[in-house]
């Protein structure tokens, strides 16, 4: 008897450990958001999207395990996956994603949920917990894209739209700065030191450029996800993320960047003060995208516990799912009534 195991239909489509029990679209102002529901037990968990550079499969190492004990709700962010890709920066400001999350909870018949926000999604989770407290039973924040202290170095948006000779001039300036750099104080921070091992602070300003994305979008994705996953043995995660990134376009991603705004300190502290549910902040000690210092400050502002994993980068849920899942499970068991 010979059994040949067929590969999943379609040579490269990946199979899933668990398929959704329900799926659908939540529509808001003509924009359709695709969501999935797995499992049914309370309390429900809503895993927010992170950035439209990826979509809800970024949670694939959480879904199957948590769905055994919880109703798990995930959705594709506007701009990627099976959700619509509206044009223009205005469609990608934080309140749009927050409203999408509420529309998904409504469509999925979910009154309250433990809300998990990762990276940019941390801002949406924070807003939900502060502004819609009756819908959020607990807040979990991982690698938050929230800086309570000013960020050193050039802001990515400032040079994003440079083209032609101006862009060449800017890149020349960067090169000269690199060569001339001696001992600027920023270089002494732990995050900067880790970052310098892999790239340099000015490389980001060169890579975050609309023209560059249009010329070589894949090259940008490879560079970016190489920094997200600094750990050895990450080739599969990097490959996954690049393929998800290629499901959208550089034009759409540029809209999400133009629409992005880091929370200012005042607003962030105000939101933190309004959060009344239990919360936890989880960070990677070697994260150079959202340094762990940001998590420590945010945890202080929230009055919550901060769990930091040394040696982990910007994707704890994707690269260290067992550690992440156990931390999340323990938090829910300790803080959220069943």
């Amino acid at each position: 008897v010979t059994t040949t195991v067929a590969t999943a239909e379609g040579a490269h489509e990946q199979s899933r450990a668990r398929y959704p029990d329900a799926e659908g679209f939540a529509e808001r102002d003509g924009v359709r958001t695709f969501y999935e529901v797995y499992g049914e037990a309370e309390p429900a968990i809503l895993f927010l999207p992170s950035w439209s550079i990826v979509h809800s499969r970024v949670w694939k190492a959480q879904i199957a395990w948590f769905a055994r004990r919880h109703r798990v709700v995930v959705f594709d962010p506007r701009g990627n996956g099976r959700s619509d890709r509206p044009a223009g920066a205005a469609a990608y400001r934080d309140p749009q994603f927050v409203a999408d999350a509420l529309a998904v909870l409504d469509a999925a018949g979910t009154e309250r949920a433990v809300v998990v926000g990762y990276s940019r999604g941390a801002r949406w989770g924070l807003r939900l917990a502060a502004e819609q407290s009756e819908r959020v039973s607990a807040l979990v924040i991982a690698c938050p894209s929230i800086a309570l202290t000013p960020i050193l170095g050039p802001k990515t948006q400032a040079t994003f739209e440079l083209t032609g000779r101006a862009r060449i001039a800017w890149e020349t300036v960067i090169s000269q700065l690199r060569l001339g750099l001696t001992h600027p104080s920023a270089m002494f921070s732990r995050t900067a030191r880790i970052g310098m091992r892999h790239t340099n602070p000015f490389e980001a300003a060169r890579m975050f450029n609309r023209q560059r994305w249009l010329e070589d979008y894949r090259g940008f994705l490879e560079w970016f996800f190489g920094l997200v996953f600094l750990e050895p043995h990450s080739t599969k995660q990097i490959e996954d993320c690049i393929s998800w990134g290629l499901e959208t376009t550089p034009e759409t991603l540029a809209d999400t960047l133009a629409g992005d705004a880091m929370l200012d300190r005042h607003t962030a502290l105000e939101l933190c003060a309004r959060v009344s549910c239990p919360s936890i902040v989880i960070s990677g000690g070697d994260d150079i995208i959202t340094p762990p210092e940001w998590s420590a400050e945010l945890a202080r502002a929230l009055g919550s516990r901060h769990v930091s994993f040394p040696g982990y980068g910007h994707s704890i849920s994707g690269r260290h799912p067992v550690a992440f899942n156990l931390a999340l499970r323990d938090f829910i068991a300790a803080e959220v009534a069943g």
Binding site: V1, V5, T7, T235, K236, R305, H306, V307, S308
Partner: protein, 315 residues
């Protein structure tokens, strides 16, 4: 308040319920037992370039359903490393395996082998068939003449070469002795051609570095490599006499073979399944160590096979 979670050294998903040494002719062998289900699944050693942790993706899963027995083959892990080639003949590994079964009060088991372990698995079934409930072979070394013999079998294994290309010529006693780490990397890469195998390759090298090039050369000479032109000659000469033994197997047999196997080509697995009348599970995207690189698929198939063997025993 920040809690720092310290990363641990290679921890285990499950630790043994029992462990110990059994001594045979002055050679100590380290074994571990996990779980207490029925029947016992005996995860056999392979070539002494690896040790029993190469079953790490099987042990915790199987131990939930069965009793799992494993040991470090002589020459690696926590077992002794005798130096003379005669200590590494197949019959010694077979006798070691029975000694481990005796020491752990294991009357019979489903045997599982990978690659070179084929010889011990076949030998056990030939010598004490009543103790072998079923036999599972992964990437077996049952040489079958094919048009497409892998490169590593054609190397001049005993000749000192002026230069080594980093490829097949690495399978050479002088290269192994003088560039052991490079050899370990070459072999480990050959085992796992699948994408995203970096961790597995690294672990293969770690296991190889747990023994010495002297032990590895002794294992080659134990099968007559010292007097042969090439590995192909050793295998083709029938020194290992594996296929006739396969034809005598009376227990249920499962052969798991990777189609991308660069060490033991798919034809060899197919030949063993045909010789033994066993089942063949051909995995299209797997190399020489599908248990390590495709553990979910492998474990499900193995569990299903063991359950069928167990039902047969009861029925």
């Amino acid at each position: 308040m920040s809690t720092i979670v310290r990363p641990r050294e290679a921890s285990r998903a499950r630790h043994p319920d029992d462990e110990g040494y059994v001594e045979r002719d002055g050679v100590r062998l380290f074994y571990e037992v996990f779980g207490d289900g029925e029947p016992t699944v005996f995860l056999l050693p392979t070539w002494s370039i690896a040790h029993s942790r190469f079953w790490k993706a099987q042990i915790p899963y199987l131990a939930r359903h069965f009793r799992v027995l494993t040991f470090d083959g002589r020459g690696n892990g926590r077992s002794d490393r005798p130096s003379e080639p005669a200590a590494y003949r197949a019959r010694e590994f077979v006798a070691d395996a029975f000694a481990v079964m005796d020491a752990t009060a294991t009357d019979a088991a489903v045997n599982v082998s990978v690659s070179a372990g084929t010889m011990w698995n076949l030998g056990m079934a030939a010598l004490q068939p009543e103790r072998v409930l079923g036999a599972v072979f992964v990437g077996p070394t049952t040489y079958a003449a094919t048009d497409d013999v892998p490169d590593w079998m054609h190397t001049r294994v005993n000749e000192r070469l002026d230069s080594y290309d980093g490829g097949a010529s690495s399978y050479n006693r002088h290269f192994i002795r003088e560039h052991y780490r490079e050899f370990a990397e070459y072999w480990s890469r050959l085992c796992a051609p699948e994408p995203h195998s970096e961790r597995g390759i690294e672990f293969g090298v770690e296991m190889a570095l747990d023994t010495t090039p002297g032990v590895i050369v002794a294992t080659l000479d134990a099968v007559g490599m010292d007097t042969a032109e090439s590995p192909a000659e050793v295998f083709a000469s029938g020194v290992n006499a594996q296929r006739p033994l396969a034809a005598q197997l009376r227990c249920p047999v499962l052969v798991v073979q990777g189609e991308l196997d660069l060490i033991c080509p798919p034809e060899w697995g197919r030949a063993l399944a045909e010789d033994s009348g066993g089942e063949l599970l051909m995995l299209p995207e797997a190399g020489h160590v599908p248990h390590a690189r495709k553990p979910v698929r492998f474990n499900l198939a193995l569990r299903e096979f063991v359950e069928r063997v167990a039902a047969r025993q009861v029925g």
